[in-house]
Symmetry: C2
Subunit: 202 residues, 2 copies
DNA sequence: TGTTGACTACTTTGGTTTTTTGGTCAGTAC
DNA sequence: GTACTGACCAAAAAACCAAAGTAGTCAACA
């Protein structure tokens, strides 16, 4: 299986899954979009479900890479947290793929999704973990933080904005809330006192 | 409208909505369960949607009342937070009514649900607000906390367990995670240092 | 050896009929 | 007069089924 062809298939799949959702995106059309025959798609994946997962994985990796790229280790780590939080939200908000995933529309359709969902979630923690490490090495965060345990909690706090978003996506409200949560937590993880309220920097 | 009859109707509605969900629970059956005629149900509510909301409101009030009851102001407020968190989770986990609400299965069906959802959420913050006030008066929490702003953030942190729960409800994991989040936040809101890790008290 | 696309078993869709249900209100009981 | 009832209606949901579409396979092909 040629890597370029594989990438073409995943790209086409990403496009169609995002536009039509899991159900309505057909393998035929994905194959057509990638300029290959249907059989070839099945050289790149085991099933439609597997293809969907691979698509998400590809997307998640891209997101992690892009996010790590905007992290400047010279910036104060607390600023970084807020920035990455906002960036992540914006990106998720613009992607039907993630929205469907996070609002649970896919879970019902696909069996055995839990583990794979967990893997994606774990992947998504990487940027936050990186920032925590930066913060510690900057001396801004407590040195005794359990980075591995902390990252998913922070990540969840950010994702919890979707409890609202499922309803009425007013991005400003969600961001303000995220910032409030972050400020709350920061007071806990900062080695020194917070000098100014983060909310104002939005 | 007799209050006893009204209560009977709401109780019957709660039972059926919980067992069958909003759609499949029929007004006829609710009336039968309450031992009244269908017309009488419409003396207690304006529409099926309204009845559903009233049912949730009744349930929420009961939950708040029960939760406030287990709050002993002599206990350390940080313990109280953890206790109430676990209690709330357990109770929600056992109630299809709340599960449907929180996993967003109802939102799609009912228009204009956002505001009412917001009201319920606000109601649900009361116990946490109470604990924060207790903590402040105990001198365990910082005196400058913005209780009104903080409560919904904490509440959300707890609800975010449902992002997982929508999938695979392993209550222990969720509780451990909630405790980790709480411990994180507590280090921020405690006036003094945390003396022992909360996680161990689970 | 890597790719294809016709083929099959299965699922989804769309249109139609039948049944159920939310909501009303003239009428009953007290 | 008041509190409640339940037959009634329009509208929604379920049941049905034929037609169309789709996931996945594999013999043939380049």
């Amino acid at each position: 299986m040629d890597q370029g062809k594989r990438e073409g298939i995943l790209a086409s799949a990403a496009k169609l899954f995002a536009n039509c959702g899991f159900r309505k995106a057909s393998i035929d059309e994905i194959a057509r979009g990638a300029g290959v025959a249907k059989g070839t798609v099945y050289l790149a994946c085991e099933s439609k479900e597997d293809l969907y997962y691979q698509t998400l994985l590809r997307e998640a990796r891209a997101w992690v890479a892009d996010t790590l790229r905007i992290i400047d280790p010279r910036e104060p780590a607390d600023e970084l947290l807020l920035r990455v939080s906002a960036y992540g939200f914006e990106r998720i908000d613009n992607s039907p793929l993630w929205r469907d995933l996070l609002t649970g529309k896919v879970h019902e359709l696909l069996p055995n999704w839990a583990e794979r969902f967990g893997e994606l979630r774990k992947l998504g923690c990487q940027p936050v973990m990186e920032i925590l490490r930066i913060g510690i090495s900057q001396g801004r965060f407590r040195a005794d933080l359990d980075v591995e345990a902390l990252a998913p909690v922070l990540q969840d706090m950010q994702l919890s904005g979707y409890l609202y978003l499922a309803n009425k996506p007013n991005p400003d409200d969600v961001l303000r809330r995220q910032a409030a949560g972050l400020e709350l937590v920061l007071r806990g993880i900062l080695a020194g006192p917070v000098t100014r309220p983060l909310l104002k920097s939005l």
